[in-house]
């Protein structure tokens, strides 16, 4: 391999540095070339970095989420595990209940007869207080590593509800600060 000219060498070093730093680093090529032009014995490479805020949330539903026995009382029936990932200096996780918008609080609603059963949500072991079908499940001002939290629901079992299939959808949203 033939070693390149000094100016080309500088340019290449900048390119390799950018590749190694991946999505988190932008480099300033004009700085490198300008510096080289001012001093022939050494070179200064100006680097400007931007770390982009990236928050994501995912969930793995527990099997029982699709087949909940509403005739038996539950205090914290596990329905899913949510994984939070956010490199911001703080973030919030909000949750909404599809039926909660009309019912005022989370509710499983019968598909045939519109019978309904209210339920509570527990996020990471803490009760979630809903208002108008929405709530803040988690709020932090710190930068946290990837975190998994269990989601549970509670309700007073009622075997005298009309026999039916009852459904709802909980949607969790993460937002960086």
């Amino acid at each position: 391999m033939t070693f390149p000219q000094p100016r080309l060498q500088t340019f290449l070093y900048a390119g390799f540095a950018a590749a190694l730093l991946g999505s988190t680093v932008f480099f300033a090529l004009p700085f490198a070339e300008a510096s080289t032009a001012q001093n022939g014995n050494n070179v200064t490479i100006g680097l400007s970095t931007i770390v982009r805020g990236a928050c994501s949330i995912s969930a793995v539903a527990d099997p029982q989420a699709a087949n909940i026995d509403l005739s038996t009382t539950q205090s914290n029936l596990a329905i899913a595990t949510v994984t939070e990932s956010c490199n911001n200096n703080g973030y919030t996780v909000s949750v909404s209940s599809e039926n909660g918008v009309t019912k005022g609080q989370p509710a499983l609603v019968g598909s045939a007869l519109n019978g309904s059963m209210n339920y509570t949500v527990v996020y990471g072991g803490a009760p979630v207080n809903f208002s108008g079908g929405q709530a803040t499940a988690f709020d932090t001002s710190a930068t946290l590593p990837l975190t998994r939290r269990q989601v549970g629901i509670g309700f007073v079992g009622n075997p005298n509800l009309p026999s039916d299939s009852y459904v709802d959808v909980l949607t969790f949203t993460i937002a960086g600060k």
């Binding site: 969930a59 909940i68 459904v167």
Partner: protein, 172 residues
């Protein structure tokens, strides 16, 4: 870029492309995964029960020749969450001559009787009569209905008479 030879040029662009791809991948993840939905589904099975209170376990008539009028033999509580309602039927053991009847254990003689349920006469097309045919479910505590029995006084054959009635509930 004219000062770059071809080999180093290719290397540089490959490295730069790697960095750009990494950038794009990170952005897509942030844009697409900021919310997640968990569907919930629960079921309530059909549960229908009939219960008889303690007053109606066994009713004994000491002298059947005197007859009986509207004697309470049981209070039946119907409870059913079937969304299409439910039916309660009564089956009588010694149905004879189109009537429910007591039957003598030795003589085989019968003494006919009538029943009323929740204040209405029970009609027997055969040994099984329909007591309730509802198109809707009951409330949480169910519905309590009295079952009463009557028979006429008469010079019946001396014997020990008995009968058994069975009440059944089913969702529609």
């Amino acid at each position: 870029m004219a000062f770059m030879n071809r080999k180093w040029g290719r290397l540089f662009f490959a490295a730069a492309a790697l960095g750009a791809a990494s950038l794009l991948a990170g952005g897509a993840q942030a844009a697409n995964n900021n919310n997640v939905s968990i569907p919930l589904s629960g079921t309530v099975p059909v549960t229908c029960t009939v219960a008889n209170n303690s007053s109606g376990t066994t009713t004994t008539f000491s002298d059947m020749t005197q007859g009986a009028s509207n004697v309470l033999i049981g209070t039946i509580t119907e409870t059913c969450n079937g969304r299409s309602g439910y039916k309660v039927t009564l089956t009588e053991q010694n149905f004879s001559a189109n009537q429910p009847s007591f039957k003598g254990s030795s003589s085989g003689s019968v003494i006919p009787y009538t029943l009323s349920y929740n204040g209405s006469t029970v009609n027997f097309p055969n040994s099984t009569a329909t007591l309730t045919n509802s198109g809707s479910q009951t409330g949480t505590n169910g519905v309590a209905k009295a079952l009463n029995l009557s028979f006429s006084a008469g010079a019946y054959t001396a014997d020990s008479y008995s009968d058994t009635i069975t009440i059944t509930m089913a969702s529609n």
